[in-house]
């Protein structure tokens, strides 16, 4: 049997035109659901950047006793630098520490006035690659034999000589963890919901044409011959819907991100190009997939004649 490849393309396009009410509704529902998914995806990606910036503030401070041998301190720094997950280290001198203290307590000038000399210790500040692993890094530092030479109270260094905001860190990570879980759960929910919505819409559109499908069967059309234009139509609708959604998101992002950056100067609000590409891929792919699946399963129901 000869095959008419052009037939299906012509058929799909003319069906798209002639059932335009259905096509319009389907495209608009696809558009809207994917828009929602996309908007939330971008929002949560921004949220993630912000949350990560908070986490990045978690660092470990090792306080150095006044009499420590500079060579020991340097050797310790070198050792710490080698610990996995350590991003960078910085040495804070006693003078720098005093300056920071003065800045922090400028509303109680009496305090600073009273200070004789400089009672504040120097410290080594350790920045981390993954702040959540802070405890492992602290443990590694504690195990370092050099530490005993450098700190004041080597018997129990985490008591006062190593600071990493134990309780704050715990709470912070619990909070950021919950935020991440929630965002992911909501995103998955949204995605599922929009798949159900799109599937149902396509199903409804095909339900409205079930008689046509029966007629096609009765005049001898094979199942794939009937199904192909419906599948292509579903894919076409999904493509149009998802591309419209991506364009809208691009436009919205171009307006909203600068506004946010203006209003939240102290927070890192950016959307990476890669994130956007990823999103576009996700939308088009899931749109097309559900278009195929939705029309495929829906048509099948009426191919029984």
């Amino acid at each position: 049997m000869a095959i008419n490849p052009g037939y299906f393309i012509r058929e799909t396009i003319s069906s798209f035109r002639r059932n335009w009410v259905m096509s319009l509704v389907a495209v608009s529902i696809i558009y809207i659901s994917l828009l929602l998914v996309g908007a939330f995806f971008l929002t949560s990606s921004v949220l993630n950047t912000i949350v990560s910036s908070f986490e990045a503030k978690v660092s470990v401070q090792v306080f150095v006793k006044d009499g420590a041998v500079p060579a020991d301190v340097e050797a310790l720094q070198a050792n710490i630098q080698k610990i996995p997950n350590v991003k960078s280290i910085a040495y804070v001198t006693k003078d720098q520490a005093l300056a920071r203290f003065k800045e922090r307590t400028k509303n109680s000038p009496q305090l600073v006035e009273q200070l004789r000399g400089n009672p504040l210790p120097a410290s080594v500040e350790v920045a981390l690659v993954d702040p959540r692993q802070v405890q492992t890094v602290v443990n590694a530092i504690v195990k370092d034999p050099l530490l005993a030479k450098v700190v004041k109270n080597p018997a129990n260094p985490t008591q006062s000589d190593i600071r990493y905001g134990q309780n704050v860190v715990d709470n912070l990570f619990k909070a950021t963890g919950v935020i991440r879980i929630f965002a992911a759960a909501f995103l998955i929910l949204l995605l599922l919901v929009s798949l159900v919505l799109i599937g149902n819409t396509i199903r409804l559109a095909i339900f409205a044409r079930r008689r046509e499908i029966g007629i096609m069967r009765l005049v001898g059309a094979s199942n794939w011959f009937i199904r192909t234009p419906f599948l292509l139509e579903g894919v076409l609708q999904s493509l149009v819907g998802s591309i419209l959604a991506i364009l809208t998101l691009l436009a919205a992002q171009a307006v909203i991100v600068p506004w946010l950056q203006d209003n939240l100067k102290f927070l890192p609000v950016t959307i990476a190009g890669a994130t956007f590409a990823q999103l576009a891929g996700l939308l088009v792919l899931s749109g097309v997939l559900i278009g195929l699946l939705g029309s495929g399963t829906a048509v099948r129901r009426y191919l029984k004649v």
């Binding site: 049997m1 008419n4 002639r18 046509e212 096609m216 009765l218 005049v219 001898g220 059309a221 094979s222």
Partner: protein, 229 residues
């Protein structure tokens, strides 16, 4: 060509059957009328041959194929060898007359060129050359019926089933359609026509199968419409 053995069709259990214990043989090249009162089972008879329905019991063979135990995937191939004029036309609402007729050719993979020559010719034969681009809801009842007729024989099937093909046509047009069916029959096509058109049946003098309450009550070659009323 067609063989029915002890075929019954019960739509709703506990109700009288639409067809009961029907036996009949129709040879290749025959021209057969099926007559009977409204609701006597004519459409059911035709729908069984097209495998639109499965019988409740009995055996049906069409073109040497067992219609009942046929695999789902083979049904389209059966139907491509059967042209059918449906009582309710069954036109695709989103296609023009031309496209509706062309569909029967697209289904069997005919090229656009073949379609573009055959479809207009067939539409001319049923007198619709001016309605090629009209959609079904822009056609009169009789015009829709003629599109359905054109679609049924455009691919020259070896078997043509027609369920009241002239119910919406005036006597003159009916006569034209009937002589068309006769000509098609002369080229070797088996033709089966369910009809109420007494004039037609009486004048053509073909084989007549009469149904009543789902039973064959008469099967005459060169018969008449009968039912003295």
């Amino acid at each position: 060509m067609i063989s029915m053995k002890n075929v019954s069709k019960i739509y709703v259990p506990d109700k009288p059957p639409a067809l009961s214990e029907v036996d009949c043989e129709i040879a290749q090249g025959e021209f057969v009328f099926i007559v009977g009162h409204s609701g006597s089972g004519k459409s059911t008879f035709i729908r069984l041959l097209l495998r639109e329905l499965l019988p409740t019991s009995g055996q049906i063979t069409v073109a040497n194929q067992d219609v009942i135990h046929m695999k789902n995937a083979k049904i389209p191939f059966l139907r491509r060898n059967i042209g059918c004029v449906f009582q309710d036309f069954k036109l695709l609402p989103n296609k023009t007359s031309y496209e509706n007729v062309a569909y029967a050719l697209e289904v069997i993979g005919k090229s656009r060129h073949v379609i573009a020559t055959q479809v207009p010719e067939v539409l001319r034969l049923v007198g619709l050359e001016e309605k090629t681009d009209s959609y079904p809801d822009e056609l009169s009842g009789g015009e829709q019926q003629r599109v359905s007729i054109a679609r049924a024989f455009v691919n020259r099937p070896p078997l043509l089933l027609a369920d009241e093909p002239t119910g919406n046509l005036d006597p003159a047009t009916s006569l034209g359609i009937m002589s068309l069916l006769n000509r098609i029959n002369k080229t070797g096509t088996t033709v089966l026509v369910a009809t109420h058109d007494r004039e037609m049946v009486d004048s053509m003098r073909k084989r007549v199968i009469a149904l009543e309450n789902g039973k064959i009550i008469r099967d005459q070659s060169r018969g008449v419409y009968g039912y003295g009323d």
